[in-house]
Symmetry: C2
Subunit: 341 residues, 2 copies
DNA sequence: TTGTAAGCGTTATCAT
DNA sequence: ATGATAACGCTTACAA
């Protein structure tokens, strides 16, 4: 009744009046064990549903086959898809992936890292939170020779990084709005202090300048990444003496919120205001108007992360160089930006 | 250079010419250790960044503080929010949560379970895949006395289950459409063979019957859960000799796809066809028209799962009774169902 | 062909 | 106040 009875190698040994080592060898078909006893032991183990205790193996081999992923959030398509990519590669290799959400806070990021190290994970993959300014917890990872791969968000740590080319993606987005005839393009730019935000902003500024368009402070507003964070800044844009005729939003969530607010204001997308997002979330093709956006290779990004990790594992050396893999993004034109001229 | 140098208790013992046990005690402030050496050891450990190896503790204590969650998908708001709830409760208790996606397939579900058991997790939480017909892998969990909590999707396993009251949610949805004047209500019902699908379908049928409305086979179409799975069935509905004037969709994704297709067909939501979804995803309030839906207490569901688990841990006994927690859902009326009569 | 023993890192028990 | 030892489950030289 209250006998947890998890079968161990010793239980089997007792049954066969042999030593644990014999059982161990028999179970892995070691040729030096009598074919007969080998069979018997295997069958018995099978029957009892014996499973080798991975915890003891981890201790023995100093290898846990566990990796940890730290992301700001999983309740959004972007990071969830990256995780998907990571798991696609790593699970067939026998790794277990644990996932942690910082919610963009610094404190949990630090404690997750320390927990992961205490758990002796074989690798840590992280997308740094927007609040993080100090990177010493990541230095600790490197100091313990644990492979560290960063993704999506860039920072000043000497570790391999996989990210999307936000700059050229943003350039495509803004160029597209200009081609569609927009003269007054606003930018809902995302949270302050993130490389992502910064790169896209720079692209936005560069393109406006290149085309001789005015850069207006009041057209550049910070937002969050989540849908409801897009409403208020958009309202501010619309009540400006001269509202924009195009909006480049930091992501599809914000773009959807913007379209919603524009509609409520009695204006039309794209004719009054064209809108373009970033990410190409699954519903971008189904909302109204269908949302133009920049498609990021999210799943591939996750796969790259996983593969960089496997490389380090195979090389048996931890990369502390600032290797950077930059994946291209892609312009997806839908109706939210197609102005009838 | 290539010295992984992870500090162990032995390293510290050597440094102080004392035994590992002394270090162990010193580090946990055991009163029997000389206050002086205690301090010294603690400081030294601190300086070197010593972290107790949780793997060895897991082996010793037969408790890993790891739990596994198996879900069909995380690239959607629903399950991601549940995970959120689980982690909110369990992380402060020192648990690490690993997440696995079955993608609605049976095979990975089985192998995830076996891996989890081999890893000696302290608990397993699962939302069974739509493909799963055989439950012996879950029986194995119970047999090993590992706490098992099921959620969202019901099945015939003698384990505690936490789910939302889909039936009454669906009743609210369909009743609402009827109140809005819909006479020909279609149901995009989700994948076959899931309790979720079945419960909602039953509610749909019951409500139609109660109101004396015809039940038409051609109005009941299976879909998936993901957005793009909603387009084709909706097209089929629209090309019917007598298309519906209301659609109850299995979730918000499918509802959004439906609205998209309706629009492309030159019809209007809600005037030609009212639409209601299920889940209340974050963008439901921002799409066009804003989507009426049934709000599920996702985060709370996750929290309930975690708390049921903690109860079992504290009781030191595994529940194999069919305890069921059913959380209420809530009707959220927005524009997609508000017909102007 | 099989058994013995040491070890992975830590702690609890029982000495000293 | 501290040390020695065994134990958690398993593997692998090394013996026999």
């Amino acid at each position: 009744m209250s006998k947890p009875k998890i079968i161990t190698i010793k239980d089997i040994a007792r049954k066969f009046n042999c030593s644990p080592s014999t059982v161990s060898r028999a179970l892995k078909d070691h040729p030096s064990i009598n074919v007969y006893t080998r069979k018997h032991i295997q069958e018995y183990a099978q029957k009892l549903g014996y499973q080798p205790n991975r915890v003891s193996l981890s201790l023995l081999n100093k290898k846990t086959y566990n990796v940890g992923v730290i992301v700001p959030n999983i309740t959004g398509y972007f990071n969830a898809a990256i995780l998907d990519g990571i798991q696609t590669i790593l699970e067939p290799q026998g790794y277990t992936v644990s996932i942690f959400q910082t919610k963009e806070f610094y404190e949990p990021e630090v404690s997750y890292i320390d927990n992961l190290l205490a758990n002796r994970v074989d690798g840590i993959f992280a997308s740094v939170s927007s609040e993080t300014k100090d990177y010493s917890h990541f230095q600790r990872v490197l100091a313990q020779q644990v492979p560290l791969i960063l993704f999506d968000r860039d920072c000043e740590i000497e570790a391999p990084t996989v990210r999307v080319d936000h700059y050229s993606g943003a350039v495509m987005a803004v160029e597209h709005l200009i081609q569609m005839g927009c003269k007054r393009i606003a930018h809902l730019k995302g949270p302050e202090g993130l490389s992502v935000t910064q790169e896209r902003l720079t692209a936005y500024l560069d393109v406006l300048e290149k085309h001789g368009l005015d850069i207006r402070e009041e057209y550049i507003l910070p937002t969050g990444f989540r849908t409801f964070k897009g409403a208020y800044p958009t309202k501010k844009l619309l009540t400006l003496p001269e509202p924009p005729d195009g909006i480049f939003a930091v992501n599809d969530n914000i773009a959807m919120a913007a379209m919603h607010v524009i509609r409520e204001h009695g204006l039309t997308v794209p004719d009054d205001i064209a809108v373009i997002g970033f990410d190409d979330e699954p519903h971008a093709a189904y909302c109204f108007p269908t949302l133009s956006t920049i498609k990021q290779p999210t799943v591939d990004l996750g796969k790259e992360v996983a593969m960089l990790f496997l490389q380090q594992v195979q090389a048996e050396s931890v990369a502390i160089a600032k290797q950077e893999i930059v994946l291209p993004s892609e312009l997806v034109i839908r109706n939210s930006s197609l102005k009838k001229r």
